[in-house]
Amino acid sequence: MIRFENVGLRYGTGPEVLSDLTFSIAPHSFQFLTGPSGAGKTTLIRLLFLNLKPTRGLISIFGKDTALLKRADMPALRRRIGVVFQDFRLLDHLTTYENVALPYRVLGKDEASYRADVVDLLDWVGLGDRKHVYPPVLSGGEKQRAAIARALITKPEFLLADEPTGNVDPPLARRLLRLFLELNRLGTAVLIATHDIGLMDQLDARRMVIENGHLEIYE
């Protein structure tokens, strides 16, 4: 589904943050991405959802070479990918409910068709009673859960989650992990970037470790 071949990335004229990344991500697979702070996890995730172009190498996403992609084709591709940003990126002028419903709105769906989905998902992540408040008054963990809910809501084919449990307590982290697993069980490939060893230990999943710009994979 996703294939990287000898991918290298540097920001501007800086050193190479990632070098010679060669791996692939299978449909329906589940993997953790880990590595020390500043290793390049977020950078790799940005490559995966077309927010960065590699300095060298080949990336193919859903079978399409990203170097050959036209701007006009990207939105359709992006809609098949859900992203949980490390810094949440909620829109402050929309309520939690509206933030989570945003991907549906962007698709032009009628509200009646997704309202129940959004409400159920918010209940599951424990934001049932925070639906109508705006992100600035949410606690750190609540924001994080809203960001997760937004990424999941359309059941994308590929889910990227950047440090999705950094601000929540361990029981809640387990609950969220169950959500990711459920999504995976339904066919979504999931990649979770995390430092949380406790979280990774709960699951016998593939681990991708970035260190000094190189990737090692432990199946």
Binding site: P103, R105, R115, L121, W124, K155, L179
Partner: protein, 321 residues
């Protein structure tokens, strides 16, 4: 508890029971932007007001200038000097008859001796007996149809047929006044261009400033897979509204201010000075074109605002990939 991910059945019931029936999608995707948006509307309103006001003033001046030039251009005077052995009254009558026959002339009228006396009174004192004096007589010829009237032909005819007669077409005055009027119109149009440039700059910059706070929104929408068209459309719609709001407020105020000015000047009809102003500018009635111009100004401002926001979105978007 089951994770909420696949629920074909529950969804069906849910859409009946509407568990989230109290939730509505009230908020627009583009933030209402308390301060930046209000500032944009205000700047647009102020600039539209000033530009609209200038347009109104310039069109009043323009119309007044037209009126001056044509009022004066619509009269020529035949002067008949008394010559020895010529019956001046007969010559005056001949001149009136000659002029009335001329193509393009609406009418000709001799100035009576009483009128001449009134005109000369400041110089000669009230009790002068003009009949004793060799005072020239005047015939005022008013022109109906400037196109078919030829001042040269009249001049020739008068020189040929009327003894002691000559034509004064006020050419000097017409030249001077129309030059002055066109100078004023020129200055007005210059001022208007300045205003329009200022208007465009302010609107473009204020719109871009208001857009600057929206980079996050554009980014998030983009990453949610929204088409560029969709994002640009959202912003364009909102900024079109800002533009219409600001433009309408400013345009309405400009027309209102003009109305108040007209009323204030009209109301002071008895006051000294009012006559002069009225003589110069006409009755301060706004020509219909002024309304049309202000209206199209408002439309142009709204479109400009929308277009600027669209371009700003496009620029942000192309910086993203």
């Amino acid at each position: 508890m089951k994770t909420p991910i696949p629920r074909p059945k529950r969804r069906a019931t849910a859409s009946k029971a509407r568990p989230g029936g109290d939730t509505t999608l009230a908020s627009p995707i583009v933030p209402p932007q308390a301060i930046a948006g209000r500032t944009l509307v205000l700047v647009i309103a102020i600039m539209t007001f000033l530009a609209g006001f200038t347009i109104a003033v310039v069109s009043v001046i323009d119309r007044a200038a037209d009126a001056w030039a044509s009022d004066i251009g619509r009269e020529v005077t035949i002067e008949i000097r008394p010559l020895d052995g010529v019956a001046i009254d007969a010559e005056v009558e001949k001149a009136v008859a000659l002029a009335q026959e001329f193509p393009g002339v609406g009418g000709a009228r001799a100035i009576t001796e009483a009128e001449t006396q009134r005109l000369l009174e400041p110089w000669l004192g009230p009790d002068t007996d003009l009949s004793a004096l060799p005072v020239p007589r005047l015939v005022i010829v008013s022109i109906d149809d400037a196109a078919s009237f030829g001042v040269k032909a009249l001049s020739d005819a008068v020189g040929r047929d009327i003894r002691g007669g000559s034509v004064d077409d006020h050419a000097l005055w017409v030249d001077r006044l129309s030059a002055m009027a066109s100078s004023m119109v020129f200055a007005g149009v210059g001022l208007m261009s300045l205003m329009l440039v200022a208007l465009i700059l302010s609107v473009v910059f204020a719109t871009r400033a208001a857009m600057a706070g929206n980079r996050d929104v554009i980014e998030v929408l983009h990453f949610c897979g929204a088409e560029d068209r969709f994002i640009a459309g959202q912003f364009q719609r909102r900024f079109l509204l800002f533009g219409i709001e600001g433009g309408a407020i400013g345009g309405a105020l400009a027309l209102l201010a003009m109305g108040i000015a007209a009323w204030a000047i009209g109301g002071s009809a008895g006051r000294p000075g009012a006559d002069q102003i009225e003589a110069m500018f006409g009755r301060f009635e706004l020509p219909g074109t002024a309304y049309a111009l202000v209206l199209s100004l408002v439309v142009a401002v709204a479109l400009l605002t929308a277009l600027t926001s669209r371009l700003a979105v496009r620029r942000s978007l192309s910086a993203l990939d």
